[in-house]
């Protein structure tokens, strides 16, 4: 068994085991940290497929940005008292496995990325795979900004829409009501935005005329103290 095969089966096993841990933990924070291990192991698999740029992106976007997003939301929600004992007492095996696999994956990724960079700059003719720059940022960037330019722009638009949508959805109702009043939206527009009750129907308004006066009868000696 060659070194590459050994590394693949090791990290494939780590990925599967930590994915199982992700879906089986009660506490979402514990599940999130196991998900980080899965992402690191998957990044190592990208490296074995000589997709170095994608491995770096995987770490940056998944293990960096998305995990922080998940953990922040869990912190804001303050959910799940049930899984607390998991949080308090991770077993020794779980701790060793967690930190060990993270260190292993992180070290391997750093090693391969540094090695790739060194080989590219010191020895430009080094054959990494079928073409010399297969999977590097150079090759991927050339593809993105030529053949896939339209898709790239569409993706950027999608990300913008997602950011705006997330902000709009996550704001609470009182803020939205205040904003809609301050910007002077019409009642119908506020109803369409979901911050006002039903719009007034024109025929439904009471016709202008004398205000009806309620007759309370003669003042009673015992019913009202007169505000002395």
């Amino acid at each position: 068994m060659s070194g590459e095969e050994l590394i693949f089966y090791l990290f494939a096993a780590i990925a599967v085991v930590s994915a199982l841990a992700t879906v089986s933990r009660r506490n979402p924070v514990v599940a999130a940290v196991w998900l980080v291990v899965t992402f690191f192991a998957v990044a190592v698999c990208y490296l074995l497929l000589s997709a170095t740029f994608l491995a770096a992106i995987q770490i940056l976007v998944y293990a960096g940005a998305m995990m922080v997003l998940f953990v922040f939301v869990i912190m804001v929600l303050d959910v799940d008292e049930r899984g607390r004992e998991e949080h308090r007492r991770p077993t020794r095996i779980a701790r060793v496995g967690y930190y060990g696999s993270l260190l292993l994956a992180g070290g391997f990724i750093a090693w391969v990325l540094l090695g790739t960079l060194a080989r590219q700059y010191l020895n430009p003719g080094a054959d990494l795979s079928k073409t010399p720059d297969f999977g590097t940022a150079n090759a991927i960037g050339r593809e993105i900004f030529t053949d896939y330019l339209f898709a790239f722009e569409a993706i950027s638009l999608l990300l913008l829409a997602a950011v705006i949508g997330a902000v709009v959805v996550a704001r609470n109702r009182r803020d939205r009501e205040k904003d809609s009043l301050q910007t002077g939206m019409s009642h119908a527009a506020r109803h369409a935005a979901g911050v006002a009750e039903l719009p007034p129907v024109p025929g439904d308004i009471a016709p202008p005329g004398p205000t009806p006066v309620t007759d309370f009868g003669a003042p009673s000696a015992t019913g009202h103290d007169g505000g002395t």
């Binding site: 590459e4 998305m66 959910v79």
Partner: protein
């Protein structure tokens, strides 16, 4: 050299685990994490085929998948926050407002 089928087996296993998480778990946060797991499995398959044919298109597509996954996570978590404000809970079985 690891044969490409083994990468596909790994992708299959991760996708299966993610699908099981989506179907079996009731915590909406873990359901979202399982969706990320399934998208990752699809990415592994894309990159494996890209390597098989020596063609970078699969890697570009995998990068787009990562961007879509990030957008999905942002909107999904915003919806989770919004739901949690409205009805205080992350149990997915409580969310039957559109059904009845």
């Amino acid at each position: 050299m690891v044969p490409i089928t083994h990468f596909l087996y790994l992708a299959f296993a991760l996708f299966l685990i993610g699908a099981a998480g989506v179907l079996l778990r009731r915590n909406v946060l873990i359901v979202l994490m399982s969706v990320e797991l399934m998208l990752n499995a699809a990415n592994i398959a894309l990159v494996a085929f890209s390597r098989q044919w020596g063609n970078a298109d699969g890697q570009v597509l995998a990068m787009f998948t990562i961007a879509v996954a990030a957008a999905e996570a942002a909107v999904g978590l915003a919806i989770v926050v919004s739901i949690f404000r409205a009805r205080t809970g992350t149990d997915i079985d409580d969310l039957s407002l559109l059904r009845d």
